[in-house]
Symmetry: C2
Subunit: 361 residues, 2 copies
């Protein structure tokens, strides 16, 4: 790939431009707001001059509702050898394009699984896609040349290509992103009118479950509006589990011993299925889940404490895989939980103890 045209210079389009331009591709930038395209160009994502002839790849990075019309326009004008979009839902845009009667052999629908809480060209970075999955949805009609252009884009952005069909993709993002988001909101919604004394008892569990409920509703309405069917199906499955669990809990209150045993069986079933599903969630390396051991260190809330811990861990040759800091409620002391490979845990514990740290057993 020598030349590319990025249409829509928001977060994703500008980040792709930065990655491609940084690896020697000539990138042309266009946006319905010329000011945005100028900003992206000023950041180094390419040039806002129009290309003189067809480019190798046109990357359509406009909001989901405009994808089909924009693609139809540029494909009819023949601005590129290959065309792709980066919208977060893939079935609908494809069906819209088919309905327009376009030849889709030069088109491939894609979805980079990278996002940020910020948007617009100023939030863009050339490393946005590094190591993240980038879904490609070729069909039997997709030209191999176009698939290869898409794979080259993904490689230049240092992302990991994952091939799926469009509808499987939409069901997958409903499962791993859209459904959990709504459920998190529903748990958080229970706190809306809760008594202050109850809210004070919140710990790390509910904090984690409700973290994503803090997101911008407007963005999520757009996302959910583009994928309502698969999300509704999954929520209906959750609702069935919920109803069974409520019945099981009610059975636990029964005076009938056999009913109570049924209740225990029902509760155990949902907890065990949760165990089985949770184990499948990939760890941060994206590989099979790695079981780390944690070493818990007491610290005071002063600058430099963490630096000393990490320096001491580094001197012991131990790589910290993950960190969780739990400060004590209303206190100036806290705990740092260091996650390390199981074989490194005794090494780290000994090294930190030797250097005077209080380690929790």
């Amino acid at each position: 790939m020598r030349t590319a045209l990025v249409i829509g210079t928001g977060l994703i389009g500008t980040s792709a431009g930065l990655a491609l331009a940084g690896r020697g591709v000539t990138v042309h930038l266009v946006d319905h707001d010329p000011e945005q395209a100028r900003t992206a160009a000023a950041l180094g994502a390419g040039t806002d001059d129009a290309p003189e002839g067809p480019v190798d790849l046109a990357i359509v990075a406009v909001p989901p509702a405009h994808v089909a019309a924009t693609l139809a326009d540029v494909m009819r004008r023949g601005v590129a050898r290959g065309y792709l979009d980066v919208a977060s839902v893939k079935g609908g845009p494809r069906r819209e394009l088919e309905a327009l009667g376009l030849d889709l052999s030069a088109y491939i629908g894609t979805h980079p699984m990278s996002g940020r809480e910020k948007s617009g060209p100023l939030a863009a970075t050339g490393d946005l896609f590094e190591g993240r999955p980038w879904v490609l949805t070729p069909t039997r009609d997709t030209d191999t040349e176009v698939l290869n252009l898409a794979l080259e884009l993904v490689a230049l952005c240092r992302a990991v290509p994952v091939v799926m069909d469009a509808d499987s993709h939409d069901r997958a993002v409903a499962l791993v992103s859209h459904m959990p988001h709504l459920v998190s909101s529903m748990v958080a919604a229970r706190l809306e009118h809760a008594e202050e004394a109850a809210v004070r008892l919140c710990g790390q569990g509910i904090r984690d479950v409700t973290r994503i409920a803090a997101s911008d509703p407007r963005m999520w309405i757009d996302i959910l509006s583009a994928n309502p069917g698969p999300v509704a199906d999954l929520l209906a499955d959750v609702a069935a589990d919920l109803d069974e669990t409520v019945q099981a809990l009610r059975a636990l209150q029964s005076s009938d011993e056999a009913k109570r045993r049924e209740g225990v069986t029902g509760i155990e079933d949902v907890l065990r299925r949760g165990n089985t599903g949770q184990i499948r969630v990939p760890g941060k390396h994206g590989a099979a889940p790695t079981v780390y051991e944690s070493v818990v260190v007491m610290i005071s809330d002063q600058p430099g404490q963490l630096a000393r811990i990490f320096a001491d861990a580094g001197m012991a040759g131990v790589n910290i895989e993950d960190v969780r800091i739990e400060h004590a409620t209303g206190q100036q002391a806290g705990l740092v939980q260091l996650m390390v490979e199981p074989k490194a845990a005794p090494v780290l514990t000994a090294a930190l103890r030797e250097r005077g740290w209080a380690i929790r057993q």
Copy 2:
């Protein structure tokens, strides 16, 4: 308080013994398994010799199902001036004691909000309760002297006392702990039979929502069995939200513009209520939620990288409030998100840039 009797030397009883003994209280330890009491004594939690006369405070730290019978026994024998239990549910045990016709003026039900994934005396630590809420449930019949003994215990354990009535407590833990736990299991359960390609797309959102679904089902069956009513009521509320959300999503698929608008309103409603509830979740300091700013640094997956970052932050006088490490999928590079007070963010960014770190905008 000069003397205490800990009955049940598991995680909580032994930890309380360690905290009290460390602050000069004479602690007597007893367990239905004398070996457990000997272990707790060997760890420094007190003595397994029987007290010669009544102690100041008897702390009943036996499993929930045995609380009432154990309390009835020791209260009838008059082993202490005051009695408390530490079970995670408070309404049921109180009603059992009332049914036994005991004078409850010398008794107070309590619940330290401290837990670990491990159990038994070997998992105990004298700092288990530090900075954590410890719920006290006095009634109008509770002697002030007994309330003060409980407050002294909480202070000696460096916990934060929170006074509630027993049923409010049970509803509160259903809200902030038991209900979120079951919902997390239900989200995770959806992954049980999911396609591998879909599971590969999991990101930090679903990872956080499903983290607590990894817990031991046996322990959670005990917890939920002791509090089925309030948990069922909350799950029924979640079920009502779920049903409305499924209907709103189905409306989004309608060809009728007015119906689609209704769907958007329904989705927006649950997302906004989620926002409102999430904001109330206390941060790790247990105070009103502090809004930190994040500074995101690129690292390679080598020992010493984090040490250098924290050392550099320490030299700039910046206190890191929280850390999240996000490694790139299948790559040896990753991002470290450093949470700091808003005013410290530009200081930290400048200091790290100056020392050669790549900071994400």
